[in-house]
Amino acid sequence: MNKFKLLLFASFFPIFLHSCSDKKRQNDLDNEKYAEEKSRIIYRIPSPIEIFNLLQNAQLDFHEQVLNPLGNWENYNSLKSQALNMGIYSADLAYTAAYEQYQESLLYFNLIRKLGNKIGIGNVFSDEMAARVQNNLNNADSLSTISGAYYKGMIDYLTENRKTTELALIYTGGWVEALYILCNTIDTLGTNDQLMKELADQSLVAQNLEALLLLDTNVIEIRNAYTELSPLFDVFNEVEMLSSEEIQVATVGDEIVVKGGSVYSFDKAKCGNLKLLVNQIRSTWILK
């Protein structure tokens, strides 16, 4: 190797090494990011429809006054209020569909389409879906199915497009509205043991939702929603545990039967506190 080549090699060797080291560092970072991404748990929240099944099973009446008034939607100008109220209106749609309130269902569906456009998820609400709603106004089963399909479509769209903030806030709004309707339509709240137990089971949903929100508290909208919900999470964290047994698993035919686990319940005072908190949080959210 002549002197010139040696000099050239000597000049570029540190750059080459630096570049290799940069590349290695980038790979390490990618691997770390990959491992971190993979170690994240996906938290899913049951749709409000499942809560309304409880009301139907208990043969409770429909109460129109618990719905978020349609006219409020024009007040929602921030991402937080739009997404939270998207969840709230979606729960209202599920409630009206479950109780076969056809005209209300159509009004709420159309409103959700408009709000969806504001948030940038208008694609979920196709003209075909709107036509299906219109054509199935007299068919309770179909309306509930369409309401479920629309909810699933919205969640899928947000997941696939990694709109995690909107997804978390829609889940949050939907759950709070379902709790609000549950707390404000049960006359026997505080005395019906079965319903109190089922309400207390919502502590499991609260756990999942809290964990989901905590993943993204660096996002200001989520951090604010989490702060506002914290007193509610506290109530659910203090739910009374009636019994707790070790989980036992048995196979019966093709089915796995899981025995044990914990049984939760609320006492009358906690039910009252829960209702108060849910009403406060929800009334703040639907106004702006």
């Binding site: 491992a35 993979k38 170690s39 748990i41 996906i42 938290y43 899913r44 929240i45 049951p46 749709s47 429809i49 499942e50 099944n53 409880l54 099973n57 479920g148 399909a149 909810y151 699933k152 969640i155 899928d156 997941t159 696939e160 089922e198 089971d201 499991l204 949903v205 756990q207 999942n208 964990a211 070790e246 989980i247 698993v249 019966v252 093709d254 089915e255 796995i256 039967v257 899981v258 025995k259 044990g260 686990g261 914990s262 049984v263 939760y264």
Partner: protein, 136 residues
């Protein structure tokens, strides 16, 4: 993200949900999900299960995926409720719970050393976690 695969999986999910499930009275549960999976790490999904319902968990893998390992775990205690490796990697299980419970579904692709040397082996992709429920 491979959008084509996602669209196909979503369509599959949409069609699959109404056919066998309806026969047995099961209905689609909105906690179902499309999940990215690979041979290196497990993907985990936390699901809330009510004791009012019976749940059916089904894994619908992307075309080309050979074996999927899935477990259902009680995350608080780490008790394994179901491990499909003990049943020849079957892709469906029904759960009936005495009390409401959060369960974690853990999904990973299975690969032997031979698989990893095979050029056609699919080491990552998407699966649909299809959850259905019916009232007890």
């Amino acid at each position: 993200m491979n959008k084509k695969i996602l669209v196909l999986l979503s369509m599959l999910l949409f069609f699959v949900q109404y056919l066998p499930a309806q026969k047995e009275g099961f209905i689609f549960n909105n906690q179902s999900d499309n999940i990215e999976v690979n041979t290196l790490a497990s993907s985990r999904v936390n699901i809330v299960c009510s004791n009012e319902n019976i749940y059916k968990f089904r894994i619908v893998p992307d075309e080309g995926i050979k074996k999927v390992h899935f477990r259902i775990i009680a995350p608080k205690t780490n008790i394994v409720i179901y491990d499909n490796a003990k049943e020849g990697y079957t892709l469906e299980k029904t759960l009936n719970m005495q009390n409401s419970l959060v369960v974690m579904v853990e999904i990973k692709l299975v690969a032997t050393e031979d698989d990893l040397e095979d050029e056609d082996f699919v080491s990552n992709g998407w699966v649909a976690l299809l959850i259905e429920h019916k009232l007890k």
